[in-house]
Amino acid sequence: MGTDTSAIALLLRNPREVARRCLEEEKLRPLALASLAAVGLGAAVFGAVVGSFRGSEQILYGAVKVPIALLGALVICIPAFHAIAASLGRPWPLRTVIALTMAAAGRAALVLLATAPVLWLAFDLGLGYHASALAATGAYGLAGLAALGVLLRGLGRGKHSMTTALAFVAVFLAAGGQTGWILRPYLVRPQTEDVPFLRSVEGGFADAVYRSTRSSVGIYDRAEREVIQSSRELSEPWEQPMESFDDGYDAQDDYYDDARRSRR
């Protein structure tokens, strides 16, 4: 236990030493165990806090789904990290890449753990749906920066270190985006009566990017055109059906947020 505590302190305080240990495969076992524990705990607590926006069973769902999404993304990323690093001048053993990635994820999860109480307090004080989504995203961004600290030190100052780091970030965003999308929902409005563990398959991260790209240049698919047409026909914004929008802006959100604040 003492070893784990010191490894966690090392993750937080000395990313350079962590990176060196990963590269030289020195005392990896306690570091890997501590990183795995940090990912499990930090992501579960953060997921539970995000789920507490609605409460009841969503707290448990969030606590289970966020670690699964994070670990799933890591499993998918590690072969890509290994291959990209090798192709850009760092032909490291797979063991080194796994250790470095796990350590970076462990550090990120500890940052998520640190931000969880702040997020919970903000929810409790009546933070709105969209602001809550932004706050959770900001916490994730902070955690990502902490992880990047370990990765950059591991990559060192050699040739193509920044290119490799950018490629790592792009791959992680792609993997994390899709695993996260598959395991939706996380942040659920309090008024939602039935919360499924997983939402039915409605496209994916790539579909959303594809649709948004087309919409941004004025090309709308048939379903989107119908939604826009029907929303124009309705006189009040809260008369628009919730199903019309897929995690996009919904005028009912503001209505619900106002109602939530007034209840408090």
Binding site: E25, A80, A83, I84, A86, S87, P91, W92, V171, Q178
Partner: protein
């Protein structure tokens, strides 16, 4: 410093003698005498006293940052440049096999025969660039008397194929995730295409950089011609690769 350490070591080695059996106590050896003897034995040159040492500059005192010692990996062997024909053939086969893993991931959307079609189609572009494009580049460079041996050119091609295959295999799990879980075929196609582009470009970069390293000894005029030829080769490789993939892979609009 050496003298100080030797003195300390000798002082530690000297232990008090056991209780005397006789009334003549053992004579404690003089440290200076022991030190002189040690110097003679180890041929330590006489130097100034430690206190007289001039202070070292901070740069000399601070330990130089050391590069971590990373264990060699199979990826390093795969991307090596040297080796006989057998080693090159083995690496080529390995690179092709790795690229086929990415193809199988693309075929996972349809399953069945599509797995095989994509698994054959993805490495086909890499092999085509190596077999069709590189001999032409070698002939052009040889016309201008560029110092590039056939072994080196073959090694560069093998390295390019291996590098592409390695990156594509690394991206295969991510591609499979997108291809299988995307609702529309267009989104799945875009995800698969992005991986092909990344893998292809990184392999091409490895190949061109290896050729550039080989041509470093050439004169400046030859290097200019070689750079132009390599740019043309790069464009040709991109177009040929794209042609093969769009012709063979159903996911990206092929047959």
């Amino acid at each position: 410093m050496v003298v100080m350490e030797a003195t300390a070591s000798l002082a530690e080695q000297w232990e008090p003698a056991p209780p005397p059996a006789t009334h003549n106590p053992p004579e404690r050896p003089d440290v200076g005498e022991l030190l002189a003897r040690t110097r003679r034995e180890e041929e330590i040159p006489e130097g100034p006293e430690p206190d007289d040492d001039p202070p070292l500059p901070p740069a000399a005192i601070a330990p130089a940052p050391e590069e971590p010692r990373v264990r060699p990996s199979w990826a390093r062997d795969l991307l090596a440049l040297d080796g006989d024909a057998k080693a090159l053939a083995r690496r080529t086969a390995f690179g092709v096999g790795l690229a086929a893993i990415y193809g199988a991931a693309l075929g996972a959307r349809e399953g069945g025969l599509a797995l095989l079609t994509h698994a054959l189609g993805v490495p086909a572009a890499l092999v085509a660039v190596g077999l069709v494009g590189l001999p032409s580049l070698y002939i052009v460079l040889a016309l201008f008397d560029a110092p590039l041996s056939t072994e080196r050119a073959a090694g560069a091609a093998v390295r390019g194929i291996a590098s592409s295959g390695l990156v594509l295999a690394g991206l295969a799990p991510l591609a499979a995730l997108y291809v299988v879980s995307s609702a529309s075929a267009e989104a799945a196609g875009i995800a698969g295409t992005l991986g092909l582009i990344l893998g292809g470009l990184l392999g091409l970069r490895h190949l061109v950089m290896t050729l550039r390293e080989a041509l470093e000894q050439a004169d400046s005029a030859t290097r200019v011609v070689a750079t132009i030829a390599q740019l043309g080769f790069g464009l040709f490789a991109i177009l040929l690769g794209w042609r093969v993939w769009t012709g063979l892979l159903p996911l990206v609009g092929g047959a």
